[in-house]
Amino acid sequence: MLYATSEQAYSRVAVFGGVYANHRALRAAIEDARLRGAEAIFCLGDLGAFGPSPNRVFPLLIESGVHSIRGNYDESISRGLEDCQCGYTDPRDNHFARLSYRYTFANTSQRWRDWMGRLPAGRRIRLGSSRLLMSHGSPRRTNEFLWESTTPSHFLEKLCDDHDADVILATHTGIPWARRLSGDRLFANVGAIGRPANDGSPAVCYAMLWADGGAVDVESIPLHYDHEALAMEMKAERLPEEFIETILTGWWTTCNEILPMKERRRGRY
């Protein structure tokens, strides 16, 4: 994987993933992260999909100085691939993934496709004295799903060893979780700001990370934004009712078949 590397050492950063064209949550996340003292804001990719009018998120990201990496969706859209490479296997899930992909592809300008194509696949920064590695799915595969209930600690330890990192961040699944590893190392899935976390709340979430002694601490920040206004925009764009329901209720209505048993059981559908 091609990483962007920064030698600058930070002490407090905000990280989110899965924007999914939700420009309202994106704006709210940037404002909230600044209020909470983030020195820099990072995005782990998947800028389009699911939400309305994908072109709106790019100027926001650029004007606000958000450092982004490329997700599987961004790679697909920028390269004009046939599908989103989300890794779904169920026919109904694929049906909705395809609707969403076609809409996003048709509504993303060439300018922003090119821009996404130039994003790095990963990023390394220093947070205090810790080496932090940002990825979309995982450092080894852009569309790897790292769910809490299917990711052993020894697997994460090996990822840290293999990739010379003290902290590894990922997104791609849309549900946040974190686990402390040996030697104060850390893995965190930062969740998504574009879609609620299948928990019955319309709030979305991002992660705040800060240096604490020789280690890094993380907090998942729930973020309320004007989700009803987003739902209206989605309606106007004639996006599927199923997607709008998720924005309004916080429950996933599609793409559930990829969930492991424990994450599936916590949802409604």
């Binding site: 779904y88 026919p91 109904r92 595969r141 697997f155 048993m261």
Partner: protein
């Protein structure tokens, strides 16, 4: 042309591609060997009550490999057979596996009395990792299923699913595609209805291709000469779609390349995970099925249908 040396003829095997172990993500345990309480007509390793070709794994052996698996960064553990619930140590094995990571059991669902299911629910509740139960049912009606799996099996497996669901578990009904693929959606609907009838309102279903080995080769046909993975077919192919690049299976004889090729002589790679860390040549025609559908053994692969 006089004097020209004829080109050497390569043995067929050398023309087959070789697949390295990219990462050991999936560790399988052949916990019941080839011993099963059923004798399904399509079983690719011909499991049966009297097939003792491969024998049960004991708890100590499983524990030993679980310990080894940590250094390899194994992501998921799978328990198969034969019928895993015929192994009296399956439940403690699952408990120990779920202490480390997610575990899946591939079962025919006919050996799930209340007591076993209650214990499974307790084991599930005691771990943060997912316990997946894949229950094999090959037709949406007693008639279609029992023709393959034996009289009474549909009702018994559905009762098993009902008990799992009643205890809060969410089994994955796993069906071999024994029908005309054009009927996929219709069959999926029938499965969904059958599952809802036993109280499973969010049914999970996985469809698998059949494998033309063992009893299935006799029931329908074996692989034809053309059904072979060639080097050209691997160009531009995502190699991690093949289980042999990301998994290994432990039997009472040692470590094999994958659960499908258990009986193939060149599939036994060694006694330890280290010894099994070497490339495998796709010399079996069953590799063609895996190549065609990709990741057929793991929980989230399977045959995807277009809506």
């Amino acid at each position: 042309m006089p004097g020209k040396t004829p080109l050497p003829v390569m043995p067929a095997r050398q023309l087959q591609p070789s697949v390295p172990l990219v990462a050991l993500d999936y560790l399988w345990f052949q916990v019941a060997g080839t011993v099963c309480n059923l004798r399904c007509a399509h079983c690719f390793i011909s499991c049966a009550p009297d097939n003792h070709n491969f024998w049960f794994l004991d708890l100590e052996t499983v524990r030993n490999y679980l310990e080894q698996s940590k250094a390899w960064g194994v992501k998921e553990y799978y328990f198969t057979g034969g019928e895993p619930f015929m192994n009296r140590d399956l439940l403690p094995m699952l408990e120990e596996a779920l202490f480390l990571g997610p575990a899946s059991v591939l079962t025919n669902g006919t050996l799930l009395p209340e007591k076993t299911v209650r214990r499974l629910a307790e084991i599930d509740a005691s771990s943060g990792f997912s316990l997946e139960l894949r229950v094999s049912i090959d037709g949406p009606t007693a008639e279609s299923n029992d023709a393959i799996r034996g009289t009474g099996c549909f009702d018994r497996a559905m009762e098993g699913i009902q008990r799992l669901v009643a205890h809060g578990l969410m089994p994955i009904l796993t069906a071999a595609q024994l029908w005309d693929p054009a009927q996929d959606l219709e069959v999926l609907d029938q499965f969904t209805d059958a599952l809802r009838k036993v109280g499973y309102d969010r049914p999970r279903i996985k469809i698998l291709p059949t494998l033309r080995l063992g009893r299935e080769a006799a029931r329908t046909r074996g692989y034809s000469d053309g059904e072979l993975v060639t080097r050209a077919m691997m160009e531009g192919y995502e190699v991690t779609q093949l289980l042999c690049s990301t998994g290994r299976v432990v039997s009472d004889r040692g470590v094999h390349v994958c659960p499908i090729l258990l009986e193939e002589p060149d599939a036994l790679l060694g006694a330890t995970l280290e010894e099994a860390d070497r490339p495998h040549t796709l010399s079996s025609r069953a590799c063609y099925t895996c190549w065609l559908h990709g990741a057929i053994c793991t929980n989230y692969g399977g045959i995807g249908q277009e809506l």
